[in-house]
Structure formats: C-alpha cells, structure tokens
C-alpha cells in the first residue's frame, strides 16, 4: 500500500493558486490604518494538494502535543475554498493557520527558486551510517510549542511554531493575556522557512564557528522576511502613502514581527531594519559591530546594511519623480501624495525590493562552505551581481558597499573596498574535475531525481579527487583549502580504507540564472570540505596533529575547511575558488578563541551544551 502523501506529482489542473493571508499579523487588523491592508492574497503555484496541506515541498502537520491532540487538516483543493482564495483570515480557525503557513512558506520558496535558477532542496537527513537520505518535504508544525518561540529544527527538518499568552502588563495592541500565534506572522514564517532553505544549501552554517555565523543565519532570514513584505503591493502602497514616499523612515514595513514584539512586552516590532543613527552625523555607528556579539543584535546590523542599500537604490530610482513634484530629487513631499505618484513610487519600490531580494539570495552561491563572515557575504554579493549584471549603471553595487562600510562590515584580506578588490579571486591553477561536466546537466523535473543526480555527481567527484590526488598535486589542493598529502596534520579526518586524508563533496548544484539583458549564466557550484579534530589548547592541538589519536583524549570541537568552486559550464573552467583553508592556524586559533574564550557565552551554553547542538535555533529564538 503506498503511503498517503507519496503519490507522484500529477500535472495540476490549476495554473496557479491564490490564498489569503495576514499581510502583517492579526494585531494589524486592530489598527485603523492597517486593517484595510492586513488581508493580502498571495499567488503561488497550483500544485495538487492533499489535506494538510501536503504538497511537493511542504507538509503541514497540525499536532498540538501540549494540548494533547491535533487539529483537522485543511483541504485547499475543496472547491468551496478554491473559489474564495482559501479560508478567511482568522485567529480562531486552525485551518486558516495551516493555510497561512503553507502560503507564506511557498512564497518564500518561490522567491528563492526565481533568484537561484533552480529548485529548492531541503537538507538531507544524515542517518546512522552517515548516508544522506532525501527529504522531500519540509514539515511544518503550526502549534508545536507553548511559548514565545518558533524555530527550524535541522534535526527534524521541520518548522516548529509556538503560541503563547501576551504580556499582561505591556501587551501593546494585544489583549492582555490574550493568545498570540507565531504561525500567523508573515515575518516569522518567512524567517523560519529561510533558515530551512539556507540549511539545505549550506548545511555547515548551523555550526557556529565564528561570531558571524549564527548572526548570518538570523540576519539573512530577516532580510528575506523584510523584502518579501515589500512585494505585497497593497501594504506597500498604504505605507508609501503614509510615509509620503520616504521608505527610509520607520514604518510598519521596516519593523519585523510586530505582534510578537508587542506581546512579549516591547513597545514596537521585534526588530527594526533601521538602525539608530548618530544624531550629529546622521550616520550609523561603525564600531557597534565589534561590540555586538548576540546573534540577533549582530544580525540586525546586517539587515540594516542591506536595508540601507535598498533605500539608497530606491531613492535614486525615484529621484526623477521627486524632482517633478518638489523640484528637488532628494526631497520627499511634505504633503499627501497624488494617487498616481503613489502608484509610481510603489511600482519602483516593489521593483527595487525584488532586485535587492534577488541579489541577496543569489549571493548565497558565492559563499564559502564553512566559517562564513559578514565580510565574505559582502564579497559574495558583489561578485554574484557582477557576474550576472555586467553594467552596473544604477550603482547597486556601490550602494551595497557604501551601506556595509558605514556599519563597519569589511572583508578580511582585501586591499580596498573597490569593486575589483571585492570580487572573489579567480583560481590560478585549474583542477581537473573529471567527468563532472561531461554528462549534461539534465533539467530534471522531479526534485528527488535532482537530489540523486547531485549526490551521484558529488560521489564521483570525490572519488575522482581521491584517486588523482598525486596528479592534482599538493599546491593545487592547498589553493582550494584542502590537504590531501600524507604529511597533512594527523587530526584531519582520514579514510577508513587507506588511512589517507578524506574529502567530502557537500554539493554539486546547478545555477542557471538569467540576467537583465536576457543572457544566461549557467554555472555549477561545488562545495568541497574536510574535517579536522580540534582541541581546547594550541599545545594539545600541536601534539595531536603529530600523533593523530591518543587514548583518553577526545576532541573538543570539529574544525572544518574547504572551498566553494564556481564553475562556468560553457568554458568548463573554475572561475572562482572561495577558500577557507583546513590547515590555517590563524583560523583555527580564532575559532578556539570564539568557542572557549568568549565573554558573551550564555549560561545556557554551560548547562545545555548537548541539547543546544541538536536544536541550535530553539535556544537562539527563545524570547527574542
């Protein structure tokens, strides 16, 4: 008997599906200004759905373990719901909750697929014998927790949302002690879905090996949630009306997770994309980054930088319109706007937000496989955009560099902040990739086939590198951050069969993107990495590097290194190698300092070290 939910995807009769959601969250319906725009309708693919909803990418399972039961699944293919764009927004109807998490998560997935030029795959499940198992659907539990928390569980490949009672003393717009559902906040859903997608692309990013890594996961998830909001045209139009076009001002759109924030006793949204500016200079404080280590606070600086770039681009795009109205391209009107102007500004803002969202997502392919920093992300942004859009006539790249620079985000090892210097370096000596590219990248339809194909290619490439390590040579291996020679530190993980250094090929994925001039940029992104046992002290590390193993001495953490290789399919050349060396002593020392020397470690880490590894986001997101 085939398990329910595993039927092959049938060609759907629906060309698309429209579903109603809260544009913000339920609290906005109690705000006179926002109530009219709080109900939005999103348009997503028309895949056939089983009750749940359960589709190709997602399965919503509405179990509520704390209450000892579950809620009946919504059937979105029910004609009654089909003709009215799904259930009406409501806090009291669990079926709407299921519909909303599905709709927003699918919107997020679609945004990623458009930007990356390929289908989204979830992180595989690693089973006991280290085999990677395909996970077809991300699970979504809309009512799994009873607390002010929501998180992505890498262990379960699932999103868990909580519900809780609003603060009795400072409830904001909420009823004191009233219920708040995190699964009804557009921002929270988009944020958590982004965690899952990011984990699917870079599965080592959940291991915090430097102060930027958890912050990057958080900040990036906020960026996606934020700009996805800007694609909801009705809400945006209303806000442009209200701010008279100036999106650089604080508005409902620049805040994230409003109800959540108010319910736990803040006055406003949970986080703001606009950072505090120095009143004297009107600029953000570039030293704040160095003084901030809490992941959300640090991530907020990244969000602020991207938002700043967005505002700069938007302003330059609407300068001509402003000149027509105020006679000054930099000045927004101080009176209410003409509806036509509102419409034009909205169109520009939606377009800009779409561009920024795509640029920020596309950069993910240009990041190192491990140990990413904000500086790396800036370089990835610039390189990715440079590859696709040769002529930066709108100054997008400058806007990003400027916004990052103002917040003290600099890449390491760059001579200057010019665009040439920020591009990743091309690889000097090419490495033979075997038959990786000989077989054409078929445009597989089924995601499982895509996954299996990528696995097979990764396996063949791994074999190829291991079998040809002499031919590749030590220098070429080091150039991509690896040590394949037998003289490598003995702590580098070895193969069981021949005892020589092991290499993992994390992923081989196609990025088939289309630039603004219609030109295609087909590339293959390869992530290669190695593991190394690492120890608390440099002395012990040196000793273990020499002897390998010693009875009774267990490693304190796993150190990783390797490279992301960007291969141009047409020329079959490795265009960039984005490297984090496995034998970099400086990087190892920095990670040791971060893990054992930091002053900002929470007590939770002291007591719950083990559980924290299993659910990294559960602790990170709680009460935040």
């Amino acid at each position: 008997m085939p398990a329910p939910g595993s039927r092959p995807p049938t060609p759907s009769v629906l060309p698309f599906r429209r579903l109603r959601i809260y544009a913000f969250d339920p609290s906005a319906s109690l705000d006179l200004q926002l109530a009219v725009v709080n109900e939005a309708t999103v348009q997503i693919g028309g895949e056939a759905l089983e009750p749940g909803p359960i589709g190709e990418y997602l399965e919503v399972v509405d179990v509520d373990p704390a209450s000892g039961g579950f809620y009946a699944p919504v059937d979105l293919d029910d004609p009654v719901l089909l003709v009215q764009n799904g259930a009406a927004p409501s806090e009291g109807n669990p079926k709407f909750h299921q519909q909303m998490v599905y709709a927003v998560a699918m919107t997020t997935i679609r945004n990623f697929e458009r930007a990356l030029g390929r289908k989204v795959l979830w992180a595989p499940r690693i089973d006991r014998d280290e085999k990677q198992r395909y996970v077809g659907r991300l699970r979504i539990y809309p009512h799994a927790l009873r607390e002010a928390n929501a998180y992505y569980s890498p262990d379960r490949k699932a999103l868990l949302f909580g519900y809780f009672r609003a603060s009795r003393t400072r409830p904001g717009h909420n009823l004191p002690g009233g219920l708040v559902f995190t699964c009804l906040s557009h921002d929270v859903i988009a944020h958590e879905t982004t965690h899952a997608i990011l984990d699917g692309m870079h599965r080592r990013y959940i291991d915090a090996s430097n102060v930027d890594m958890p912050a990057f996961h958080e900040g990036f998830a906020d960026i996606v949630a934020l700009f996805q909001h800007f694609t909801l045209a009705d809400a945006l139009r209303q806000q442009i009306e209200q701010t008279r076009g100036d999106l650089g001002r604080r508005s409902v759109l620049s805040g994230l997770a409003r109800q959540f924030g108010e319910a736990i006793g803040h006055y406003g949204a949970l986080r703001e994309a606009i950072d505090d500016l120095d009143p004297a200079t009107g600029l953000p404080d570039p030293t704040r980054l160095a003084a901030t280590s809490e992941p959300h606070d640090r991530g907020a600086i990244l969000v602020a930088a991207v938002f700043d770039a967005f505002v700069t681009i938007y302003r330059s795009r609407v300068a001509d319109l402003l000149r027509l109205v105020t006679g000054d391209g930099g000045r927004f009107p101080d009176r209410d706007l003409h509806p036509d102007l509102v419409a034009r500004l909205t169109a520009e803002a939606v377009k800009t937000a779409g561009h920024v969202l795509r640029i920020t997502i596309r950069a993910l392919d240009y990041l190192p496989p491990v140990d990413v920093t904000f500086g790396d992300y800036l370089r990835a942004l610039i390189t990715a955009d440079h590859d696709l859009v040769a002529d930066d006539d709108r100054g997008y790249r400058i806007a990003f560099i400027e916004a990052f620079r103002r917040r003290g985000i600099f890449p390491k090892g760059c001579r200057s902040l010019s665009i040439e210097n920020l591009l990743w370096e091309p690889l000097e000596t090419q490495i033979d990739l075997g038959d990786l590219l000989k077989r054409p990248f078929g445009h597989e339809e089924a995601r499982e086939r895509l996954f299996e194909d990528a696995r097979a290619r990764a396996f063949r490439l791994q074999r190829h590198i291991l079998d040809n390590r002499e031919k590749i040579g030590d220098d070429a291996a080091r150039a991509i951050g690896l040590r394949l020679d037998d003289a490598a530190p003995k702590t580098i993980r070895r193969r069981r069969d021949d005892g020589r250094p092991q290499v993992e090929v994390h992923s081989v994925r196609l990025a088939d993107r289309v630039g603004p001039d219609g030109q295609r940029e087909p590339q293959v992104v390869i992530e290669i990495a190695q593991e190394r046992r690492a120890y608390r002290s440099a002395e012990l590390q040196a000793e273990m590097d020499a002897v390998g193993r010693k009875p009774g001495v267990r490693p304190d953490f796993v150190f990783r290194g390797g490279a992301t290789l960007i291969v141009d399919i047409r020329t079959r050349r490795i265009r960039y190698a984005i490297v984090k060396s496995i034998d970099s002593a400086a990087r190892l020392e920095a990670e040791r300092q971060f893990r054992f020397g930091g002053a900002a470690e929470a007590l939770g880490a002291t007591y719950f070290g083990a559980e924290r590894q299993r659910e990294p986001f559960a602790f990170l997101h709680r009460m935040l």
Partner: protein, 530 residues
C-alpha cells in the same frame, strides 16, 4: 572526641578549602584570645559526583576535629545543593557540632516582603522544572541509544533535557542521586533517610543554630565571632530586583525579556503540564487553556464511538503522516517541554544572584587586607556593589570612605565565584580592581568532572582562569590540584621575567599546607598573617 587544644595555638588566620569536590566548603579559623574562632562557609557537593556522601562525612569529621565541635559562625551563601548538601549527607556528624550564629542573606528572611516574593517565584519555577522533568521522563522511554564514544561519527547529538542537571542544584534530581548511590559505602553512610532537599536542609540548619542573622548589603561592618579585627562587609545580594535578575554579562535589553518571562505568563505553559492546584489562575475555564477551545481539538485518545465521518477522516489523515513509522524521527512530542528549561535557567541564575557576598577585613586601617567570598554571585550582584559605601573614622580622626574599589584593591584572597564559570567574575567591575600584589585565588572546581562528556561545562572558564593566573602570579589554589603541584610551578617560573620572585614563592609555599585524613588528601590550608 577531639579537644579544643588539638588545634595548636594559631598566630595566623587560616582558610581551609576542602578538595576534590565541585562545591564550596571553606573553614576559616581566626585567632581569638587563647583559642580560635571558627567560621564555616558552605558545605556542599554537586549532586551526581560519585562518592559524594562519603566525602561529605570525611569533610564534616575533619571540621569537627579541627574546631573541637564548635562553629562560632556558619555562613550559608545561597540555597544550592553544591553549597548545602554536606549538612545532610554528614547529618550524624554535623549533629554533634555546635553552631553559634547562622548567617543568611536577607533573601532567606521570611519577614522580608521582597524575599517572600522571590521565594514564591522560586517555588513556582522549581515546581515547573519538576513537572517538566517528570513529563519528559514519562515520554522519553523510547530514547535513542547512547552515542558510542569510539564511533567515527563526529556529530554527536544526544537527546537530552537539562532539567535533571538543574534539579541537581536543589538536590531534586532522581538520576543524579542514583549515580551517587551506586557507591554502596555512601549508601551505608547516609542510611537512606527521607530525601533531603536544599529547602529542607536550610530548615534544619535554622533549627540547629543558636541564633540566625540575616544580612542586607551595606550594613555597618559586622565583627565576626566578636572579633574586632575580623569584620564582615556585606556586599550582596542587592535589594534591587533589576540587579538580582541580571545574570549574564550581556548588555542591552536582556532584563526586559527576563521580567516578561517572570510574571504570570508562564501559566499557559504550566496549564499544559496539568499543574492544577499550583496556582489559582490555572483553575480557570479549562477551555481557555486550549488555543481554540475544546471544539477544534481532536484528542489523541479517540473516543470509540460517536465519531462522525469527518472526524474519522481527519484522524486517518493525521495518523497517516504523523504516526508513519519511517518518519518517527520527525515527531515533536517533547519539544514544547524545552520551554521549561528557560524558566529553570532563570531560576538557577536568580538563585546564584541571591548569594550572600562578604568581604572580610583582617585588622583595621587603610592597609588592612581583605578576603572576598562572593558565593556564586553573578554579574548583577557584583555590579550592585558599586552603590555601596561605608564611612569610618581614620586614625587621624577624619572620615574615610570605603567603597567597593577600595575593598577589592585590598583583596588578598579571592574565593572565585561559581566554580570559575564565565559569568560570576566580572572583568572591569571585579577582577581588574583586585590590584594587590599579594592576591591569591581559591577555585572550588574539579575540571575533570565539570568538563566530562556528560556535562561539558566550561569550568574553569579558560580566559578567566588565565587572567587569574596572571593577576595572582600563578597562585591559584584549585580544589583539583595539590600543594605539591605548586613546588613544580615555583621551580619552573620563579625569578623569570614577569613572574614572582623566589622569595615570594617561598613565602607562599610556606603558607599553603596539604591536609589529609586516613583515606588521603582532603583539603588545602592557606595561612595569612594576622
């Protein structure tokens, strides 16, 4: 029984740290007339340490012998197992010891309104942790097999809640208790009585002592055991709730979240634990504790009859996904219990912050030396000391202001707080102010036990330990090192650049002494000239 004169007439004040335990037990003996005044600060061993009860009996016997069965002052810094357990584990021995004054923080004073509020909060939080733990245990019977330590896999992901370890701080962890009692001698020693908890021990101590004194920070210096040249400056716990709740070094809005979590907002979570009777408010409308009321919820245990087609269909659909055998790993039955950990953690931090923190001044005047015993005070407690000041008449008749900077600058012995964890010794407002060249630190930690695979606690915290070594010129007395170790350290480092000279080392080596009983090493004495 040991007699008073067994302790040879001391000219020096000695501080004895009991060894090889993750827990605090310090005996101070100060010369008083022809005899000594005996002051004991805490006596506890973290729950789960093998052979704890055995060790506690040895320690208590040594205390009895050393003091002649009389403690002038017994100071209990805060209500945690690793500061209290010894009084229960060595109950029979302790019963023979006479206790003059019991010193407690104002937070233990039942007449104090704020203390009552705190105690109530603690009681409730503790109940939550116990309930969560019980619920987790009930559900976790089909837990994953233990990770194989020899396995090649590097990602170890044990399925584990932290409740048990937190309950261990209150003597309430059944698992940790079991670990101890695998040791048969310990079992014989305790004779298996009613399970002691931190609350019950404190209660017994109150009854045992002749008098109980509660201290607030900033009171006039208190002569210890009637000694004029040994006075206690009470630093904490602070009276301000904001300081009390501040546990981590993090800046920003941390307090706001913690207070928001305090209130009564945890009730919703509690209601799910079935904690009826814990609080009146949970006995409200049963319907309100369900997010959508009774109507929408389909209970797991289905009624056999009276189910309509729609519900049957919903049940079938749900079970087909959630109960699918090969997707067992994706279930989320227990995740909601993790919320209890947050509460538990807060409780633990708050309790540490209620530590009675004392600076003992030896002698008088602006050069008098100070011994700092902060209990397990965390950041908030420490920071609050900055608000304190005392005024004393100097020898020349003018008023002299004594602030915390002054006391820390004169500190020559620092009992490192919370077993040298990262958040119990602030940098700028703490260690960096201890500038005396004679500074010595005592660290009640057993690194091998704290860092072991099951616990993985980062104690001692490396950067803090390194700084302590620097500040004291390597005179860090650890509960898991012996005096002999210092010989080697002295030989290796004396007279080197930026190290202590040989003379200072010799003086130090002369002041430390290994104390053993019939079974082996038991304590380390450090003597200070009076």
């Amino acid at each position: 029984m040991a007699k008073r004169q067994t302790a040879s007439k001391p000219r020096r004040l000695t501080v004895r740290m009991y060894r090889d335990i993750l827990g605090d037990c310090f005996l101070i003996r100060a010369p008083k007339g022809d005899g000594t005044a005996n002051i004991l600060i805490d006596c506890g061993i973290l729950q789960g340490m093998p052979g704890a009860a055995d060790r506690a009996v040895r320690i208590m016997k040594n205390i009895e012998a050393e003091t002649g069965g009389r403690l002038d002052v017994l100071i209990v810094t805060h209500e945690h197992w690793d500061h209290l357990s010894g009084f229960a584990q060595a109950e029979d021995v302790f019963a023979r010891i006479e206790v003059g004054e019991l010193w407690l923080a104002w937070t233990e004073d039942r007449r104090d309104e704020l203390a009552q509020t705190l105690a109530e909060g603690r009681r409730r939080a503790l109940a939550v942790v116990e309930l969560s733990h019980a619920a987790a245990m009930a559900m976790a019977d089909h837990a994953s097999p233990e990770a194989d330590p020899e396995a090649e896999t590097m990602d170890v992901k044990p399925r584990k809640f932290g409740f048990s370890e937190l309950l261990a701080f209150y003597g309430l962890s059944p698992e940790e208790e079991e670990k101890e009692e695998r040791n048969p001698t310990a079992l014989a020693a305790t004779g298996k009585k009613k399970r002691a908890t931190t609350g019950s021990i404190l209660e017994a101590l109150r009854a045992h002592a002749k008098s109980v004194r509660y201290f607030r920070p900033g009171v006039d210096p208190v002569p210890v055991a009637g000694l004029d040249d040994l006075r206690a400056f009470v630093l904490g716990p602070p009276r301000d709730e904001a300081w009390l709740k501040r546990s981590t070094p993090r800046k920003g809005t941390g307090e706001v979240y913690q207070l928001a979590a305090g209130g009564d907002d945890d009730l919703f979570y509690l209601a799910a634990l079935g904690a009826a009777g814990l609080d009146d408010a949970t006995e409200q409308e049963p319907d309100l504790v369900l997010p959508f009321g009774r109507r929408r919820l389909l209970a797991f245990d289905a009624p056999a009859t009276g189910v309509d087609h729609e519900e049957r269909e919903a049940r079938r659909r749900f079970a087909a996904v959630y109960d699918r055998a090969e997707d067992e790993w994706r279930r989320v039955d227990q995740d909601w219990l993790l919320a209890g950990e947050q509460l538990a953690l807060k409780l633990d931090n708050d309790t540490n912050n209620t530590s009675l923190a004392i600076a003992f001044e030896i002698g008088r005047g602006k050069d008098a030396r100070v011994m700092l015993f902060p209990g397990d005070a965390q950041v908030g407690n420490w920071l609050s000391w900055g608000e304190l000041a005392w005024t004393e008449k100097g020898e020349d008749g003018t008023d002299r202001r004594i602030g915390i900077e002054d006391l820390l600058a004169r500190t020559v012995l620092y009992k490192v707080g919370h077993h040298c964890s990262h958040n119990a010794t602030p940098r700028e407002r703490g260690l960096e102010l201890m500038t005396s060249p004679d500074l010595v630190a005592m660290v009640p930690v057993v690194a091998s036990f704290a860092n072991d695979a099951a616990k993985h606690w980062n104690m001692p915290f490396p950067s803090l330990l390194a700084r302590l070594e620097e500040k004291t010129g390597r005179r860090v007395i650890r509960a898991d090192r012996s005096v002999v170790d210092f010989q080697g350290i002295a030989t290796k480092h004396a007279d080197r650049p930026a190290e202590l000279d040989r003379k200072t080392w010799d003086r130090f080596l002369e002041a430390v002494r290994e104390i053993s009983d019939a079974e082996g090493p038991l304590a380390i004495d450090y003597a200070l000239e009076t």
